[in-house]
Symmetry: C2
Subunit: 439 residues, 2 copies
């Protein structure tokens, strides 16, 4: 993260928000440190004390970049204040195993190349920290590396958004939330902002039109002000700006008409989180606990990073266990049922599965998703298998393939933030595994 130049040392309080920025799914400049991204994460922060050059502090400008990322993604709670997402106190619901040793050697041709690569090779190439494959509800492949093990939590980045989208669809299916309502009517504080005139559906599908710049090279870009507002670190005495997600969102102005194009901006999800919390009287962590984590029998509590007034970062704050996200993928695949119980309304999943409008999506120009769409904060490939996914920077995904009855969850710490970096060695691999499983 190359903005050291923009902030003097006396502004160090700002630096921890870089984590929030990266979680937003925003692109990130490559730094020289990334040349060493092969450094095993196990060498960070080991020893009592760790060697000075192996220490990662929340005040380090680069704690969310380069090789440090490989440690940081598993240790958000040690760097920032977080809010727990309770699994409850009941025993976890078991996930059955039917491991398939041959899956490791399934091969595919990475996009834009001619040389084939195996699933196992792609694991390393993609800086995978953990990956699990479910077929017909059973675990056929599972592997950990880097900073992650089976009882670890990993930053989910923008996959968080998809779970917020799932909550919204659930409330809509239950008749508790109107997708056509204006955000300004649901949260009156938003009336003076761009969100005031946007519908819940436009916010859910990110077809709002917002004057909001994520240009890192511009010190005056909105994203910096957002980061300042979002930081949970004590602010300097002379700070006069917004001090929470909610305060910031009220300042966002429109830039044209809503509903005309998809534009991926994290602030939509934080607005959706606000709408959901105002609607239910619960934080998104409480709601995810009650509606998802507890009913699916999650095996680990998760957590969210928060702002200085305890608001969970709906746009990207979740850290969770790999198998728990696999349970959620399976829940999606099963139209909201898990172990025979209807946990989420089938209509909610149906609304997500139908996908968004590819015409609105095209203008955004995602090279690895030429026919894609975005619906309820889920990414749709519109391929033969009707696969769709939750996606987060640095390679995070919950990939759901209904035709192959397959769920893949991957946590990674790929040095390139944008998924364009790992999609060529991931998306064809997922398709190859689907083809293999469907044989």
């Amino acid at each position: 993260m190359n903005h050291k130049t923009k902030h003097s040392l006396s502004q160090r309080w700002l630096i921890p928000v870089c984590a929030s920025l990266a979680l937003h799914g925003l692109a990130q400049a490559e730094t020289p440190a990334q040349a060493n991204a092969d450094q095993p994460s196990s060498q960070w922060m080991t020893g009592f004390p760790p060697a000075p050059e192996r220490i990662i502090r929340n005040s380090d400008a680069d704690f969310f970049a380069g090789e440090k990322l490989r440690w940081t993604v598993c240790h958000m709670q040690e760097l920032l204040p977080t809010k727990i997402l309770h699994r409850g106190l009941k025993p976890a619901v078991n996930l059955d195993y039917q491991l398939d040793a041959d899956l490791a050697s399934v091969s595919f041709t990475p996009t834009g190349t001619q040389d084939s690569m195996t699933w196992e090779q792609a694991f390393t190439v993609n800086k995978t920290d953990g990956v699990i494959v479910l077929h017909k509800g059973k675990i056929v492949y599972e592997r950990y590396d880097g900073c992650l093990d089976e009882q670890g939590l990993h930053a989910s980045m923008s996959m968080t958004k998809s779970l917020i989208g799932l909550l919204a669809e659930t409330l809509i299916a239950e008749g508790q939330l109107d997708e056509n309502a204006l955000a300004g009517d649901l949260v009156p504080e938003l009336k003076g902002s761009a969100f005031g005139s946007a519908t819940v559906r436009q916010i859910m599908n990110m077809t709002t039109s917002l004057k909001y710049s994520e240009d890192y090279s511009d010190p005056e870009a909105d994203v910096w002000k957002y980061s300042q507002a979002a930081s949970s670190m004590p602010k300097p005495g002379d700070y006069k700006g917004p001090r929470s997600y909610f305060e910031y969102l009220q300042t966002v102005q429109a830039e044209g008409e809503h509903g005309k194009a998809f534009a991926y901006k994290t602030i939509n999800t934080d607005t959706l989180g606000w709408i959901i919390s105002r609607n239910t009287g619960k934080s998104v962590t409480e709601l995810l606990s009650e509606r998802i984590w507890q009913p699916i029998g999650a095996e680990q509590s998760a957590n969210f990073t928060i702002d200085s007034i305890g608001t969970p970062f709906a746009g990207g704050g979740l850290s969770a266990g790999l198998r728990d996200l696999a349970r959620i993928g399976q829940l999606m695949l099963n139209d909201g049922k898990l172990n025979g119980e209807q946990i989420v309304p089938a209509a909610a999943i149906k609304n997500i599965r139908r996908g968004g409008d590819p015409k609105l999506f095209t203008k955004a120009g995602y090279s690895s998703m030429p026919n894609g769409s975005y619906q309820s904060m889920w990414w749709h490939f519109h391929n033969a298998n009707q696969a769709y996914a939750a996606r987060g920077v640095h390679g995070q995904t919950i990939y759901i393939d209904p035709s192959a009855e397959m769920v893949i969850v991957r946590f990674a710490s790929h040095p390139q933030a944008a998924n364009a970096g790992s999609d060529p060695t991931s998306l064809p691999a997922y398709q190859a595994v689907a083809d293999y499983l469907m044989k």
Copy 2:
């Protein structure tokens, strides 16, 4: 906490360490806010956003004092970076219930008064957030209030020390750690400090002689420097002092001969934590997970606050679930066995249970423990029942009464930090319940 006057607004980065200070078990000046300590904790931080006057931020000087304390004790993870203490992934080991409805009306006479009070009345008077009574291993009483419920975590304050003491006794019983070894031989970095010439046993029993002032009225007191070193918040650019527990501990100088008197100083426990981690190659969170939380079948993962290099605050950083501390109390009562399994060596518990030297303790002058002693970071009453306890500021306790086969765990947010505030309405209550159960 009334030190706003000492720090300018530009030094706000310091303020979050107040939490560490209070956790140390250090006395704390009463503030006017404490007059309102009856404020229900449920009114803090509720709503989206909460009303401005109901927000608690980590930058608030008083977040660990007065009525705010009643919320803060359950939400350390939302205010500061923390390190998880994993419960593991297995189902929790059940605790059986045999509730006794009559226990609530057991009465006792608070110390220094003539009027009797019931157990139920004392619950409220002591600002109890949660209390559980085990008799012969079964839950006979359990109640929650304030910010706590059965799936919540609560700051354990200096009870943390007793668990570190238990770890040290375990390593000693296993022959892995020599109680007569000098800390300077075990951790060479400590050679130039007061700890260098202290034995492990002297550190465990806090009979070290340390030049270390905890006088809050003195802006130059060592405790402020310790707090600066311990803070996990980014430090100002001009900060030149120690940046971790380990760096600070090396600077502590001696003030006389070790072994002559008990003097309660938290830095002993952080030194013991360092010795344990150097000895085992594991953080105290990892070790508590492996040695205690996982084997006892804890139902919740816990966490520790940490310094800026991830070192858990051995002296007071634990937040845990009420029933999990009850399981640990029962483990102590059962000489290290739980559900028929020897989890901790019996010799370790025996070493703790024999108590310390009351002669060394007397000089410290604890009014509510006139015949007490301190052994392996556990407090001994040397009463007829040979009761002993883990104790933390604001009313935290694990009270173990071997004669009555009783364990009481209490989490509280009593406005007075020193336990002298709640001991008069607590210690006689514990004895009365013991008498009742032994009938």
